[in-house]
């Protein structure tokens, strides 16, 4: 074999294209003992990109707790795995596809779903649910409506075609996401313990197989593209966006799941960001071996592709397998049955090297250590911006623009508080016959076949105050997700996280990242929930302006008794309405800082983030679960976005019945004349709005007292209005019109242009 030919040193423009700095280049050359050639440089650039290496966030991510009695697999594999008991495991992960979705919304969103599905079935798990976390700009803008509609279409198209239900999600609109929408997709799968597959290569001489789509020129530099800022030229990067084929992936999924029990299958890995380069390098590194690939064996979509293009293509719907030598034909036959190409493209070697040959000539040879772990970790300076005057501002000082009733209806009619059915009716949320509670509630619930318990899933993002107080606002996201699970009757067992931030080289953004991770780490530790998988998406920035920091959390929980599950809607007229976990149900506690009301009424973000008491949160979640287990409650709903008023209206609208509550109204002396707005719309944490039959009142009061959790019966279900006595009252019908049209009225009356 000829050694890889040397090339001339790369120009700074070439390095920029690879998102490599001069010093990173020098470090690579030093470790290699020679100048890398162009192919090698491309491989290094891809694997050292933020997207693959986490070189900027890695040190911070180590702070997240990933241990726990149920954890089978923490971060580092394709997806995290927790034990559901009875030899059943749950694999799950969330990932971003923000940049591609900003440029080509349908394909960007669709391939985000396709990628996260592969991460889960690569572990041998059958995907049983998808969720998504979305962020867009103001829906009043036709361009945003277009992008939103197309992203929803892309998510639906992929999930619907492949037959995995999209059971939940979270969508939020804010002008700050105008140029950089966020598309985070989460997949949850189930696998029997003995079928779990690891993505590692082993056994020199064993074969490397590539199966699925042919390799084309699409998506080259996708990983790198995800690691730089979007700009005016981003449109020109459309070739860096991949094109999805859910039909092919469905065949790939079924074929892979047929093979997972095979003793000759050694490792399975999806080809995601940075294509063959990262999938193979990661597999080899995990197994402590090397790999050799003969690029001419890779079946291609186009003629004349160079080794560089083959190795860095991000063509979708491809998987790599390591199989025991001699069993190749059996695997090829199994794939052929599903109409899939499968080629032996390489083999495992003993030396920890990644070697690429083309027709017998070596074209690249890189130590795996260099590729996977050789990047210099980056520790950009973090510095808190001057925010104290904003944090100290009194959100109640400004004159309210609307009456309480008017504000209430406006909130219900806003896309952030309104009904999301326009989105999820476009998603198949039932296929698989396991969806017990679909989208539209606090958390989705799936049954587990042959068992009496159930699985609960939710996605939540940080409170809007995250720009001012990222630590507390991120912890709030976790507390809220835990409440969402508790509302349906489930206790949390694992977290996956997707950290969407701006350019970490800006000190204030690095500070946000540090604080947010710190907040998540503290809260996860305090609440005892491991973080088992995740993804970091940096450089969410357009023309120098970063998005608000957006940590998105996906949580998996277990309901001990599926038959006890609860919904968020009121169930029966005459039931009592009560507030649980409220440090103060009345105006004594008024927290409008960063609230949705503040955003809509004043368009500002100021004032302190709501207080968060994690031990109180843990206690009240326990109490709610106990109350549900004892069959004391008719409904439970997390009191969050839009405060008590929006929560009450949602429970009323979901149940199709009115309600009247009378919280104590004795405003403290020093309180603002605008305290009514704080009472209605303040986003005080830790609260649940529940309903219960009158006959259960005494038992419920006793139970909550036992858990040292506040419980206050405030009113009852019934009537044609939704009322907070002495403060505001709106008609149920009027509220229904406002709420149900919040998204659909804007989307359906002025459709964005069809493709």
């Amino acid at each position: 074999m000829r050694p890889a030919a040397a090339d001339s040193p790369p120009t700074s423009a070439e390095l920029r294209e690879l998102a490599l700095s001069e010093s990173e280049y020098r470090s690579a050359a030093d470790q290699l003992g020679r100048a890398p050639n162009r192919l090698e440089l491309g491989m290094i650039g891809a694997l050292w990109s933020e997207h693959c290496s986490y070189k900027t966030s890695r040190a911070l991510l180590r702070r997240l707790p990933s241990e726990g009695g149920r954890v089978v697999q923490g971060p580092g594999e394709n997806a995290g795995v927790v034990d559901l008991g009875g030899d059943l495991l749950c694999c799950f992960k969330i990932e971003s596809h923000n940049h591609p979705s900003a440029i080509e919304p349908v394909q960007g969103a669709a391939t985000g779903v396709g990628g996260i599905l592969r991460d889960v079935f690569a572990m041998g798990a059958r995907p049983v649910a998808l969720l998504d976390g979305l962020r867009f700009g103001d829906l009043a803008d036709p361009g945003q409506r277009h992008r939103f509609a197309r992203v929803v279409e892309g998510i639906g198209w992929y999930g619907n075609c492949i037959g995995v239900p999209t059971v939940g999600g979270e969508t939020y609109f804010d002008e700050a996401y105008q140029h950089n929408c966020l598309v985070n997709a989460m997949c949850v799968g189930l696998v029997q313990r003995d079928q779990l597959v690891k993505a590692r290569a082993s056994g020199p001489g064993n074969s490397l197989l590539l199966v699925g789509a042919d390799t084309g020129r699409d998506g080259i530099h996708g990983a790198t593209f995800a690691s730089v800022q979007l700009d005016q030229e981003a449109e020109g990067r459309r070739p860096a966006v991949q094109v999805g084929n859910p039909f092919l992936e469905k065949c790939l999924l079924e074929a892979c799941l047929e093979l997972t029990g095979d003793p000759d299958l050694i490792g399975l890995q999806d080809c995601g960001a940075a294509g063959l380069t990262s999938s193979c390098a990661e597999m080899a590194q995990r197994g402590g071996v090397g790999l050799e690939i003969a690029v001419e064996k890779v079946s291609r979509r186009e003629r004349g592709m160079t080794p560089y293009e083959v190795m860095l293509s991000e063509s979708q719907e491809r998987m790599v397998l390591v199989v025991r030598r001699g069993s190749e034909e059996r695997f090829r036959t199994a794939f052929r049955r599903w109409g899939l190409h499968c080629e032996v493209v390489g083999r495992v070697i003993e030396q920890p090297l990644f070697r690429i040959t083309e027709n017998g000539s070596e074209v690249a040879a890189l130590p795996l250590q260099l590729l996977i772990a050789g990047f210099p970790e980056r520790h950009p300076v973090a510095r808190a911006p001057q925010l104290s005057s904003l944090v100290a501002a009194d959100p109640l000082a400004a004159t309210p623009p609307w009456s309480p009733e008017d504000a209430w209806l406006r909130l219900l009619a806003s896309p952030n508080c309104g009904d999301r059915q326009w989105i999820w009716r476009q998603y198949d949320h039932q296929v698989g016959d396991d969806t017990v509670l679909g989208p539209g509630g606090d958390a989705a619930v799936l049954r587990l076949r042959g068992r009496s318990d159930g699985l609960a899933l939710t996605i939540d993002s940080a409170h809007r105050s995250v720009g001012l107080e990222p630590r507390r606002a991120t912890a709030i996201a976790l507390a809220e997700a835990v409440r969402n699970l508790a509302c349906v009757g489930a206790a949390p067992i694992g977290i996956t996280n997707c950290l969407n931030f701006g350019d970490p080289d800006r000190p204030e953004i690095m500070w946000q990242l540090e604080e947010a991770i710190g907040g998540l780490a503290d809260a996860a530790r305090e609440l005892g929930i491991p973080v088992v998988s995740g993804n970091v998406s940096l450089y969410n920035q357009f023309a120098g302006r970063g998005i608000p920091p957006t940590p998105t959390l996906g949580l998996v929980g277990l309901l001990p008794d599926l038959s006890r599950r609860l919904g968020a809607g009121f169930l029966a007229e005459g039931d009592l309405v009560a507030l649980v976990g409220a440090p103060g149900a009345g105006p004594a506690q008024v927290e409008l800082g960063g609230s949705e009301y503040q955003r809509i009424a004043y368009g500002v973000l100021e004032g302190p983030a709501p207080e968060l008491d994690l031990s109180r949160e843990a206690r009240s979640a326990q109490a709610i679960l106990a109350a549900i287990d004892h069959g004391l409650l008719s409904s439970a709903h997390d009191c969050a976005l839009g405060g008590l008023a929006v929560t009450l209206a949602e429970s009323a609208l979901l149940g199709g019945m009115g309600a009247r509550i009378s919280p104590p109204l004795d405003p403290p002396q020093e309180s603002s004349p605008n305290w009514r707005f704080g009472l209605l719309f303040g986003e005080t944490q830790g609260r649940y709005l529940v309903s219960l039959p009158t006959g259960r009142l005494a038992a419920a009061a006793a139970l909550f007292a036992q858990f040292n959790t506040e419980f206050a019966a405030l009113g009852s279900v019934g009537g044609a209005t939704i009322a907070v006595e002495g403060v505001a009252e709106i008609g149920l019908e009027q509220a229904a019109i406002a709420w149900s049209g919040a998204i659909s009225a804007q989307m359906d009356s002025s459709p964005s242009p069809q493709r």
Partner: protein, 234 residues
């Protein structure tokens, strides 16, 4: 007697497992039928389930109709055997010429997954004979191309021959535009062939077989077929 339900699996089919589950709930046997085989494995009923057979490239069902399995299905139908096409299966039956008409893109131009109510219009079919008359069935839909269309003569014939099996209605059984989720002509959700042994419908009865999942009224279609077969001589 055990009834054998054959469940077709094309590449891209995804309701096969749900259909098998529904069949198992009835206590009968579900047998997977591979698209590339011509063998119905002695099945009494063939179900063409939902999904995106062969990716639905070209047109939904347009490629699936050429599958080797479909030759056997045609043969089975010709001999009076029961065939149930659900969602993509209905599209395939139309493309294969076993049922008239076509399923066009929803009038909303969007995919729709939602509960619907179905009025049973004809109990002439073995799949519907056991449905209690006048009681609408709650069965969900999940499709992007479910708007039933047939040319005026074909539509008139379907009506005249009592072959409109199911129409979308409200929960009181009233037919209205509001209750029509996809713009289907005359709210048609399902139709029969001339002999009544082939039923195609867009809604998913296999998703409505357990109260836990929202409705168990879809089970009536499966039970009806089982009762019909049990009553056959021999």
């Amino acid at each position: 007697m055990t009834v054998r339900f054959g469940i077709a699996v094309f590449p891209g089919t995804w309701s096969d497992r749900d259909c098998a589950h529904a069949v198992e709930l009835t206590g009968e046997v579900a047998v997977p039928l591979w698209h590339a085989d011509r063998d119905l494995k002695g099945c009494d009923v063939v179900i063409l389930p939902g999904g995106f057979a062969y990716g639905d490239y070209l047109r939904a069902g347009a490629i699936a109709r050429f599958a080797p399995l479909m030759e056997a299905v045609r043969e089975h139908a010709r001999g009076g055997g029961l065939v149930l096409g659900i969602c993509n299966g209905f599209q395939i039956l139309c493309e294969a010429g076993l049922l008239p008409g076509a399923l066009l893109r929803n009038s909303s131009l969007q995919f729709r997954c939602q509960p619907t109510w179905l009025r049973v219009e004809s109990t002439q079919s073995p799949f519907l004979a056991a449905c209690p008359p006048g009681q609408p069935l709650r069965v969900p839909i999940s499709h992007g191309e479910g708007r039933f269309y047939a040319a005026p003569e074909a539509l008139a014939q379907l009506n005249a021959e009592g072959r409109v099996a199911l129409r979308y209605c409200d929960q009181n059984g009233e037919i209205s535009d509001r209750a029509n989720p996809n713009g289907s002509l005359q709210n048609i959700a399902g139709i029969l062939n001339q002999q009544g042994n082939v039923l195609g419908l867009m809604p998913h009865p296999e998703r409505a077989c357990e109260a836990l999942l929202g409705s168990d009224q879809g089970l009536q279609l499966f039970n009806s077929a089982i009762q019909h077969l049990a009553a056959l001589p021999g």
